[in-house]
């Protein structure tokens, strides 16, 4: 049940997108998001969509997997669509009770939904094709210049990789604790909101206890292996910039420039 969550899940593969340097992919996602939000008109959206479809095709991630990632956010998407539909002023199309749908509202709603779905899919593509470890490696290297400003870049990256590493562990643990409390007659499904919130205590307390215990053990284990922070640490698999990455980066820049140019023409 809880195991079905796909956030941060990585699907191993051997496509150009999988092989790309994480830095290229992160930069590309940033370009992609900026492009998505600078779209001036339908043509711009079509261009961004085409870019996304091409990337998904190359990565060979199944459409089903991607839709599964979008599913948990469906309520937010519907909510945004409804708000946009009813609260954008414009020419009235339909009117009933106190609600009016305008042409501008309808257009806004459709574009907003498209934008959210494309945003989610694009960022998911990054986590689907990049293992958490390389992802944080890439992030650390990209943020490296900030070290000059004494920003704790390495520490942040380490925290992120540990957090990602423990998501599945904690999900499994939650499942186990839930079963154990259910075996003692705990009921998580029925009751009003307050009862349901109260029913979470027998799950959250043991979960926090075990999370702290794990954190403590991990810290000891890291110290035993002489971890002293980023200073002087080398990598098992250093990242190499390849021609593929240059191509990827150029594609991202072309997309962004294309969208901005189209925007000047109001497209």
């Amino acid at each position: 049940m809880l195991k079905d969550i796909t956030i941060g899940q990585y699907f191993p593969g051997d496509t150009p997108i999988h092989r790309m340097d994480p830095r290229t992919k992160i930069l590309n996602v940033i370009f992609y998001i900026i492009a998505l939000f600078s779209c001036g008109g339908i043509v711009g959206y079509v261009l961004v969509l085409a870019y996304l479809i091409a990337a998904v095709r190359i990565s060979r991630i199944k459409l089903k997997t991607i839709l599964k990632g979008v599913k948990p956010l469906i309520i937010i998407i519907i909510f945004t669509a409804l708000l946009n539909m009813f609260y954008t002023p414009g020419n009235e199309l339909v009117h009933f009770w106190r609600l009016t749908i305008t042409d501008a509202g309808l257009k806004n709603a459709v574009l907003m939904v498209a934008r959210i779905i494309m945003l989610i899919t694009g960022t998911f593509l990054l986590t689907y094709t990049t293992s958490p470890i390389t992802l944080t490696d890439g992030l650390e290297l990209l943020l490296n210049p900030l070290k000059k400003l004494h920003a704790p870049v390495h520490e942040l990256a380490m925290m992120m990789s540990i957090a990602l590493r423990f998501i599945p562990t904690l999900i499994e643990e939650t499942d186990k604790i839930m079963s154990a409390q259910k075996a003692r007659g705990a009921d998580f499904e029925t009751g009003n909101l307050i009862q349901k919130a109260k029913a979470l205590i027998p799950i959250l307390v043991p979960l926090f206890v075990s999370a702290f215990r794990r954190a403590d053990e991990l810290a000891t284990a890291m110290e035993c292996r002489c971890y002293t922070g980023g200073e002087g640490r080398t990598r098992l698999n250093p990242l190499h910039w390849q021609r593929l990455d240059t191509i990827g980066l150029i594609c991202g820049i072309v997309l962004l420039t294309g969208v901005i140019v189209l925007r000047q023409f109001g497209l």
Binding site: K176, S179, A183, R184, G185, P202, V205, P206, S210
Partner: protein, 288 residues
């Protein structure tokens, strides 16, 4: 005698319809008689944990039925919940599920969920604590202040306090020192004697199983591979080994003795029996 728990063609498939699909149980027919002390052994991933979670309705069968006292436990929603109280399940490392401020409150969670009157809850909590030999002085302490073995016993008491007809324990002694192990095993036996309860114990230690159970079920690869008395099961030493299991150390010693040419009974599986067998051997050939 009618079985208290019975499974009919029980099948369970995890993550059905995804690339991670895995058959954990495949048409398992299995029954437990009232008052029986049963052991379940099996290699990691053989499906034994999946099986026991079906017996109290925590997992829903993909196919097949689980009957409690002849009634399908999934037939009626209300009954499913009742079965959870009648079949007490103690998970592996149960001390990780403790959460209350005091030991007393933690043990009383089960009885409280059964909506019993205050007096009855009190009686059950103290009785359960007595079964696992927890002194009254710890009842008002926080469970997190206790030692590992004590925490484990608090968690077991939490299930015993529901006074289940069937008590299932998944590796109750894992990670404890020898003294803690022996204590928990004797607590379980005491509970069974006093309540005439049915007990099912999953374990990786053949010695523990050999010393306690009357009937032994071997699960291998989502199927029941063997079912019989410990003597019958441990007679298949080589088959057990091929499943990644083993026979008790004593049996191994006797198998070796037999190989060395000594005419000993290789069906022994406890140290008591071994002692008797050796004495008999010596008695047969005086002066040896």
């Amino acid at each position: 005698m009618n079985p208290i728990i019975e499974t009919k063609e029980l099948t369970h498939i995890y993550s059905r319809g995804t690339p991670f699909e895995r058959v954990a149980l495949d048409s398992v027919n299995f029954s437990v008689n009232p008052g029986e002390f049963m052991g379940i052994i099996g290699h990691t991933g053989s499906g034994k944990s999946t099986l026991i979670q079906h017996l109290n309705g925590l997992l829903k069968p993909t196919d097949g039925q689980v009957l409690f006292d002849g009634t399908d436990i999934w037939g009626d929603k209300h009954f499913t919940r009742q079965v959870r109280f009648k079949v007490g399940l103690v998970f592996q490392y149960p001390e990780y599920q403790l959460f209350e401020e005091t030991v007393f409150k933690d043990i009383s969670l089960g009885p409280k969920n059964m909506k019993l009157p205050e007096e009855e809850i009190r009686r059950r909590v103290y009785e359960a604590a007595a079964f696992v030999e927890l002194p009254d002085s710890v009842m008002e302490l926080s469970p997190f202040e206790l030692s590992g073995g004590q925490k484990r016993r608090v968690a077991i008491a939490g299930v015993i306090a529901m006074e289940p007809d069937v008590l299932i324990l998944d590796e109750p002694t894992a990670g404890l020192d020898p003294k803690g192990r022996e204590q928990i095993l004797s607590n379980i036996r005491a509970y069974q004697d006093a309540r005439h309860a049915t007990v099912i114990m999953v374990s990786h230690s053949m010695e523990e199983i050999a010393d306690s159970v009357e009937r032994l079920v071997v699960i291998h690869d989502a199927h029941i591979a063997m079912d019989g008395t410990p003597r019958e099961v441990f007679a298949h030493a080589s088959e057990l080994e091929s499943m990644g299991l083993s026979v008790p150390q004593v049996t191994n010693v006797f198998l070796r003795l037999r190989k060395m040419g000594l005419d000993v009974d290789t069906s022994v599986y406890t140290t008591e029996q071994a002692k008797a067998a050796l004495l008999a051997l010596k008695g047969g050939r005086p002066g040896c």
